[in-house]
Amino acid sequence: MNDIQDFYNMMERGNIMLSFKGEVTSDLLTSILQIMETKMETLDEPPKIKKKVYNILVECLQNLYHHIDEDDKLTAQNEKSALFMIRKEQDGEYSIMTGNYIAQENVNNMKDRLDRINAMDKEELKDYYKEVLNNGEMSAKGGGGLGMIDIARKSGRKLEYNFAPVDDKFSFFSLNVKVAQ
């Protein structure tokens, strides 16, 4: 039974406002966004910060949602599951953290994209966004490779990430997006 208290204390120390582990569905996404919107209303943040955090939240959650292929019967339930957390540090900085499984063959591609984004300054990100917006092909699910660029632009910080190999098929992808005050 001590486990429960340990979990609680860990989340309390980590200033976790909300966390979820499981399969990200459309209904779940809607609920989380509603809960976070209500929570942020009570926090007395400037509208500018509220909008930024909400916007990044939407992109991160929809990334997790689009990442899961609903017709995929081969992937085990465990590997469709994702982790989502939002924390507010004592100094007021927000962190939006996600974790999900990614197929090994997609790791290098994803890593290259993140590195490319992280190497850019504000103006370069703006130009890159416009280029992908205007020329990029839209995937069937509506993603168009704009999500991470937009997250980086709105965050105003470098994207922190890690890929940890799980087995020969999957790695675990961790992403931490900080919102500059």
Partner: protein
Amino acid sequence: MEELIIEGTSKTPTIKFNPSTGYLLVRGRSIPENSIEFYKPLVDILEAYNSNSQSSTNVDIQLEYFNTSSSKCILDVFKKLEAINAGNSSVTINWYYEEDDEDMLEAGEDYQAIISVPFKMIEVEED
């Protein structure tokens, strides 16, 4: 042509387009998971309107925020307006943003740089 009216929800904006006055309004937030499907009726009616447009077409975009999936569809809408502007109607796009909302102002400037239609950036007070 009939007027297009789509009522807003917590994830999608209110859309009103009246072909007989040439007025288009997009207001609210746009964060659907599938934005192609949502924006299709608007893209279609603008396509049809181009062959029978009013002398001027006025567009008010009052978005609180939008996701990147919507941003491509909004560009498609603007490309239709660009074609209408190159045709028989002069189009003006009014892009509204709340004071201090640099992200929304920048988003408008991004479109302004891509689309050759006159844009007006209009700052409004926060709610």
